[in-house]
């Protein structure tokens, strides 16, 4: 089997998709003609809400689901014609934690080693190494059904690493985890990537994409609607974003009242809110409050912040990402450090 690798800014593509499409029965288009290039050694994020097509994309790249159109290669091998080679090159932790409740953590990892040809003493040694890596040595002899959600996720991650894969697929690796477990997984993802493993990570958490990913694509309704580094995606939006909560006020009237504000780059309607992208948020607040007051438009809270990935998502899709601002970021102490938000009520 000959590997086919092409140049990509000096780096080989670990993952490449060309017009990748998956249609299910009833003409449901889960993934629509996706083009994608992920370089070797990169952490690439796939950000989108539930049902956007993230898991379908991962299943196609992992050879679990054949595409209905287009093509893709992983580690240089075609996912359809070179499935065996792809499977040898990848590690996978799917959204549903795939663990066997009957086995202990150690037994599960030793079996997984065996399936990748690492048997006997080498398999036992590798299992011990991985248990140590994910901090499960003390629980190694317990059956996995007794593990907490975080422990299961870490063991699942370890089982994806037995053969030191070139490319690691993590499908929503922290969904359903408590904040502390989420931070642990993030640390592990970073340390795995530091060894040179390319990571393709799907998530519906903005802060996760922002924290971990060097580049990311926003997927919505099966299509990539934006792609770039988190900094670029946010930077494209302007310097500051002022969010005006409408609290039932008419969006058109509110926008008309604000009018041609100095430094206003664009206005994006959101659910019961307006996002105003401005050069200087702090300086704009007083003018916005004054204009709304003069026009007799009664709105809710007004907040100023730097553009977030959620703003990038809003810009790309016309709506906020589900689950955004659900408290996860605050719990983790991640987003609030960046935020210099002031909330004013007119």
């Amino acid at each position: 089997m000959e590997r086919r690798l092409t140049e990509n800014n000096g780096k080989d593509p670990a993952i490449e998709a060309r017009g990748l499409t998956r249609t299910f029965k009833g003409d449901v288009e889960a993934v629509r003609s996706v083009d994608l290039r992920v370089s070797e050694g990169e952490i690439f994020g796939f950000l989108g809400p539930n049902g956007a097509g993230k898991s379908t994309m991962v299943r196609m790249l992992c050879t679990l689901l054949p595409p209905t159109d287009g093509s893709a290669s992983v580690a240089g091998y075609d996912v359809v014609s070179d499935g065996d080679e792809v499977r040898r090159s990848i590690g996978v932790a799917l959204q549903e934690i795939g663990l066997d409740p009957v086995q202990s953590g150690r037994e599960l990892l030793e079996l997984q080693c065996g399936l990748y040809g690492i048997t006997g003493a080498a398999g036992r040694e590798r299992a011990s190494e991985l248990l140590e890596l994910v901090g499960l040595t003390d629980a190694a002899e317990r059956r996995t059904k007794t593990y907490s959600g975080g422990m299961k996720r870490r063991l699942d991650l370890a089982s994806a690493l037995v053969h030191q894969p070139e490319v690691l697929f993590l499908d929503e690796p922290t969904t359903g985890l408590d904040p502390a477990s989420r931070l642990t997984i993030w640390e592990e993802v970073r340390s795995i990537n530091a060894t040179g493993t390319t990571i393709f990570l799907t998530t519906q958490y903005l802060e996760e994409a922002d924290e971990l990913c060097e580049r990311l694509a926003i997927i919505d309704h099966g299509e990539i609607v934006a792609e770039g580094t988190p900094e670029k995606l946010k930077g494209d939006l302007g310097n500051d974003v002022v969010t005006v909560q409408l609290k039932g006020a008419d969006p058109a009237k509110t926008q008309a009242a604000i009018g041609e504000l100095p430094g206003l780059e664009r206005v994006v309607p959101a659910e019961d809110a307006l996002a105003l992208y401005v050069e200087d948020g702090a300086a704009s607040i007083a003018a916005i409050v004054g204009r709304l007051h003069a026009a007799g438009v009664d709105v809710g809270a007004i907040a100023v912040d730097q553009p977030s990935l959620d703003d990038a998502f809003l810009e790309a899709t016309g709506r906020r990402l589900e689950g955004a601002g659900d408290g996860d970021g605050e719990d983790l102490g991640v987003e609030q450090d960046e935020a210099a938000a002031r909330v004013l009520t007119p």
Binding site: T63, L94, E96, G98, L99, V102, L111, G114, L115, D156
Partner: protein, 251 residues
């Protein structure tokens, strides 16, 4: 081959660690054995010609062996694995997909040998005598166990095609007509003409007749060969279909 052994060992471990899944499958054959003997042993005393001097327990024992080995256990274990996501984990490993089935069937053989040995020993404790001797008893256990392996192909097929726990569980009920449209209570020639025709069309009849011949008559080669032939054909068809189902799973 290594992957088949590893997966088989895991499936055996599953059987051992979930006795609650195996014990009920032993209770039913033992219950039927006791109830049937209790109900009709006076009707069919040992002087009955087709019993060859034995008690009715010897006649019923093969039916109980069928009950002990023909279970939905493997199909259920597989569909549970699909449900939990572990099956996907195994599918992305660089192994032959068919190993996932063959490994489970290996464990089925181990479980079948254990279950049929228990039932055979229970039958002997109830007074049955294996006319073909110890070797014949071993052949009885092996025939029943391989029948169980062949039948497991059906449960696996249902599990892979429906991916539904309820459907896989209720598929076991299909075995009842197959078991009762047989010479399970009396020989072929004592059945009504319609029942005899149906029983003669039912392949399970020949498995029962073959095992029964080892217990009651000794070594009747033609009956044993037909029994082996039926098990082989069932195995080739049902396991063949389940192997095809896993090869084309999600493709």
């Amino acid at each position: 081959m290594t992957e088949v052994l590893l997966l088989g060992r895991r499936a055996v471990r599953e059987v051992i660690r979930y006795p609650e899944a195996t014990i009920p499958t032993l209770f039913i054959p033992l219950f039927f054995l006791a109830v049937n003997i209790g109900q009709v042993s006076k009707t069919f005393p040992s002087t009955t010609p087709f019993l060859n001097g034995q008690g009715y327990v010897a006649f019923q024992l093969p039916v109980s062996l069928m009950f002990a080995v023909a279970t939905a256990t493997t199909g259920l274990a597989l569909v549970t694995e699909i449900d939990s996501g572990y099956f996907d984990k195994l599918l992305v490993a660089p192994i032959r997909r068919t190993s996932l089935i063959v490994g489970r069937l290996g464990a089925d053989l181990v479980r079948g040998v254990a279950a049929s040995t228990v039932v055979l020993l229970a039958g002997i404790a109830f007074g049955a005598h294996v006319e073909s001797g110890v070797l014949g008893a071993i052949v009885c256990v092996l025939l029943a166990s391989f029948f169980g392996v062949a039948y497991a192909g059906f449960g696996i097929l249902v599990a892979l095609t429906t991916r539904n726990v309820q459907a896989t569980n209720t598929s076991f009920l299909l075995f009842f007509p197959l078991l009762f449209l047989t010479p399970n209570f009396v020989p072929f020639d004592r059945l009504s003409p319609v029942m005899e025709t149906l029983a003669r069309l039912n392949p399970v009849s020949y498995v029962i007749v073959g095992i029964r011949s080892l217990i009651i008559d000794g070594w009747v080669v033609d009956k044993i060969l037909v029994c082996i032939g039926v098990i082989l054909v069932m195995g080739v068809v049902l396991i063949g279909l389940s192997l095809r189902a896993i090869k084309t799973y999600d493709s």
